[in-house]
Symmetry: C2
Subunit: 232 residues, 2 copies
């Protein structure tokens, strides 16, 4: 585990592009597996919690959140979704439709710190992923503020939103302290500063040749599992 | 389990169409989950086998097989693929490319019964699924013949290829006797005639409303598992 490589932003972007352009994965495929990994880690860490509020951002990290919401529903949880800035691409409208048709509630109002604590047992941060560059758009500033203060468990997909991919918490942005992070593909450098309770790796789709090319020393996934627990 | 509904061909087709047209799932998404379920069942039933020959048909059942091959590779198996009649759609050329780029071998020659037994420990039948209507195209007749005679374990995805979706084995077509079948979405009527060793249900993506609409009484998937063992 000690040799595990943590990716800088450029590497994370390059690996992502290679998966799509060279290996020819579709976004649908990898997002499905990423969201499934995220839902699986959440369900395993919080088997007794039921109500999950998923905060969905405008890009791929948000898409992972929409997929995770659907799988959490299949696992018997009661997800609800806050999705303030929607993307008009078919992939996203379809993911949204799947959730709606499955009876998942979309919260229209920005949920305050108090509302979150009243209406949910866990909150999922699927706002920004490894492509994030500060500053945060003003629309998301109060959401991060609220998530930074919540006292129910916070789970971040890929990286805590608002963290610099390499540097970690940024002074200008309300700093999230998730209890669980599901790193996707490989952990990013900022995760060296993570001191929450659970860190999982998900996205079991990285071909060996790609691991070798980028010198990734990923831990072995056990059996047929789609996630593996990391030690930090 | 006794109340579990077995689908006729019309129902299987209607459910499939509803998943795509009403729920707006993409084929990429559901094929990814179906293939993952299939690979998971195979890996759990045969943890000590390594070399898997996957026979891939021209349609969606074949696509499930290509996805299963990739996940088997991720699980540490050594898959190889026989894919005699290829489809020129981007989904299929991309799935094929993913496998090739991951170093999975494509067998160009039709593997005889003897070759199969020499070169593989398990063989997977991903030739025809619930959309199958006899007769079998002449090109596939000898392949079914060979699979019907093989003495290594045979695993069929969704239904044994060549079986009538409702009636089961058809006198005109070499009859496969798989040891494992992974029924997808819900078992088809022909599976009442299955007397192999393992029957799993996979494709944990059927929304509750759809289950109710079609009166499906599916067993509960345990925890976060993508497959569930059935009793027949």
């Amino acid at each position: 585990m000690s040799k595990m490589k943590y990716l800088c932003q450029k590497e994370a972007i390059a690996i992502d592009e290679e998966l799509f352009n060279v290996y020819r994965f579709s976004v649908d495929q990898l997002m499905e597996l990423a969201g499934l990994s995220s839902a699986t880690a959440i369900a395993k860490c919080y088997p007794d919690k039921k109500r999950v509020l998923i905060c969905v951002g405008p890009g791929n990290n948000g898409g992972d959140g929409l997929v995770a919401a659907r799988h959490l529903k299949m696992f018997g949880f009661i997800p609800s979704i806050f999705y303030p800035k929607r993307t008009d691409k078919p992939l996203y409208t379809n993911l949204t439709n799947q959730c709606k048709m499955m009876g998942i509630n979309f919260v229209e109002e920005f949920p305050s710190e108090q509302t979150i604590q009243k209406q949910a047992d866990i909150v999922v941060d699927a706002l920004f992923g490894f492509g994030f560059k500060p500053p945060v758009r003003p629309q998301f500033q109060p959401i991060l503020e609220s998530l930074s203060k919540t006292s129910i468990p916070l789970c971040s997909i890929d990286i805590p939103s608002g963290w610099d991919v390499e540097e970690g918490p940024n002074n200008e942005i309300p700093s999230l302290s998730p209890e669980l992070v599901i790193s996707l593909t490989a952990p990013k450098i900022c995760m060296k500063k993570f001191n929450g309770k659970y860190h999982f790796l998900g996205g079991r789709f990285v071909p060996n040749a790609l691991k070798e090319k980028y010198g990734l020393e990923l831990p072995e996934y056990p059996g047929t599992e789609c996630i593996v627990k990391l030690n930090n």
